[in-house]
Symmetry: C2
Subunit: 182 residues, 2 copies
DNA sequence: ACCTGAACACCGTTCAAGT
DNA sequence: ACCTGAACACCGTTCAAGT
């Protein structure tokens, strides 16, 4: 099978994510990514600015996964589904997930993700003035949990125990939201 | 002033942390650490196993900071003081703090930190059976918040806004604990 | 015992050159 | 337009050699 020589940014990110999944974030070198695409490392620089830009792209890819398949859910399940989506993404990409907490402020995808949570909170009945803080808090808690799980901080505990931990976090957030609405 | 040539692990960690504080985690190279100690990079290998070991040591140093000066506080303030200690450490060491969430499972200092939170929860009246989960949850939330703050995820918001976010998190944890005790 | 010099394999990145 | 070869400065790490 002849390798396609024409590469693009999406293909570079896909290859990078695959390497991170298989061999960890440290294995994501320009050389390794190029190898997987059948190209020399220098060829990558036409499509990504540099390695930092490549890693930024990786974060964007992960963020886009968070809301996967939550669109056609009833509004009162959207927020919970989003949280589960974050966790699922972390479990699929444990190597790359650490990057998500180091977000470069406000990329387009980060903005989109935030707006989605805003919408869910609005539908929940949270007052407009409380929405930004609720979003920051909820996102931080869920991302912190998922990042911990991905990094193996809960290693040594069974999946059942970790799932119960997450259920407790979900309940906590539920209580918080109930308090905001009351 | 003649440089001291005799180096040790503690001095290496101190120099590494100083570099991380001043120029970020990426600036912590064996060369940079050695330079700061007036020594060649190869000299470090007698005192740290390798770079990963050096970074592990950095995490241990940070963990030890969390409970700084909370020892002689009344028991009902210990937990809150611990949370503030985590945040203070994150603000002192924004470059290195990201490493804390990637903890290598269960180092001595991590165990000590966990036991301290256990004790506070016990004094609070949390049932023995609920303590491990409560510790995991509370530590994860506080570390996630502090890591986000250190990484600049809240950049663009004033210190007052971030402090109010943290106050909301404290209240949330308070509600959670009240629920466990009731 | 502790540090150094020399060396190695591997990084990210640039630039001129090829097609 | 897109990829490559050659080159550069910089990594972490090893090992034999110095004191």
């Amino acid at each position: 099978m002849a390798r396609p020589r024409q590469i693009d940014r999406a293909g570079i990110l896909e290859a990078s994510l695959a390497i991170a999944d298989e061999r960890g974030l440290d294995a994501v070198t320009m050389q390794a990514v190029a190898d997987r695409l059948g190209v020399t490392p220098m060829a990558l620089y036409r499509h990504v600015k540099n390695k930092a830009d490549l890693l930024d792209g990786l974060v964007e890819t992960l963020l886009a996964e968070f809301a996967l398949g939550t669109d056609d859910l009833p509004w009162d399940e959207q927020l919970a589904a989003f949280g589960r989506g974050v966790r699922a993404s972390a479990r699929r990409h444990p190597g790359a997930f650490a990057l998500v907490l180091q977000l470069p402020a406000s990329t387009p995808e980060a903005r989109k993700t935030r707006e989605r949570v805003y919408l869910a909170l609005r539908q929940f009945g949270v007052a407009e003035a409380d929405i930004p803080r609720a979003e920051r808090l909820i996102s931080t808690l869920v991302l912190g949990f998922a990042a911990s799980e991905a990094a193996g901080r809960f290693r040594g505990h069974s999946r059942a125990v970790i799932d119960a931990d997450y259920a407790a976090l979900e309940e906590l957030v539920g209580t918080y939201l109930a308090g905001l609405i009351a």
